[in-house]
Amino acid sequence: MVSIFLNVGYAWAMMDSPQTQVLKYTTVKAAFWGGVREAAGVPMMIMGASFVGFGTMIKGMEWSVWHALYSTLSTWALPGQIAMAEMAAGGAPLLAIVLAVGFINARLLPMVASMLPHVRRPGVPGWVYYALAMIIAATSWVGVMRRLPDLSADQKLPFLAGFGLLLYCGSPLFTVAGYLLAGTVPLPVTLALVFLNPLYFMVLFLVDMRNPTRVWALAFGAVLGPLTFLIIPDWSLIVTGLIGGTGAWALGRRLKARTTP
């Protein structure tokens, strides 16, 4: 379900896959609850587990449970939250942290920009779309995008609202659960919970490896990450992203230009 996190292209491909079930809601209200129901399954489970991991991580940093809650409710984009916590724990300067989070969450821009035109309706005030933008993150984007073709024009907005709101409202509960569990369960369980985060992002990136440019970006990043950490620990992630990412991007463009006449 959360088959992509950062790869916008992959979910477009998913939308072309044959739909097993046509969603037909009789009312707008039913479409909202349909969104809630659809989010309540696998999306909620996977996202929940990763927020448990985030709560555990914040506990390990000796920040308060309120900090964990505040971050989840105000940011609500897990990769950025994990990077923030990881860098803050490592003592990185504030500017480096904000830049890294900004870059990681810049993927939300195309997600929001590509989602909203589908749900736009005449008569809906503009602020509603800015509020909806808050509940668009990778999980809700993939989950709703693939259902849009099955929904009538007036049902898309309530479906997105239901889907995103359930995930948004559930995430603070999982965050707090992770925070509280970390102190009370045996140490091996705590370690397993902390270990959820790197594992989750690692496999998430490996779901879709059809785009060679992305694979190079992963490989360059994997090599540069620890290497730069030994030389310039404070700015290592920013340097890794900019050098590794730009290198992969440039390489991809060069090869593309060569293969297409």
Partner: protein, 114 residues
């Protein structure tokens, strides 16, 4: 004294939240006018991929916090088993993550971590 201790995380979290909403707000503003396949979007994705891959490797190989107490080989074995489970289950994210985490729990428990 207490103030300086608690204000720093709040400042970090607040700025991180603003940095995140900036992308969402801008996305709402530009919705319909931005091409998701454009070169700039592609570059942002590449930078993010490299940054996150670097972070994942660092979190496993050179961890900070609770994981520092675990031997390197345990994290390596748990990672490899997680990866194997992920590919065997035809790239099921849940199965891969669960297998890797469980492995680390079992290994540390066997080694007497408590």
């Amino acid at each position: 004294m207490m103030d300086t201790l608690t204000s720093t995380p709040v400042l970090i979290i607040t700025l991180a939240a603003i940095a995140s909403y900036a992308s969402r707000g801008l996305g709402a503003l530009l919705s319909g006018r931005i091409n998701p396949d454009s070169a700039v979007v592609d570059w942002i994705t590449c930078v993010t991929y490299a940054l996150m891959a670097g972070m994942v490797v660092r979190m496993i190989a050179l961890p900070i916090g609770a994981l520092t107490t675990t031997p390197d080989w345990m994290r390596l074995v748990a990672t490899l088993i997680g990866l194997a489970a992920f590919f065997i289950s035809r790239r099921n994210v849940g199965v891969g993550v669960a297998a890797g985490s469980l492995t680390l729990a079992v290994l540390t428990w066997q080694a007497g971590f408590a």
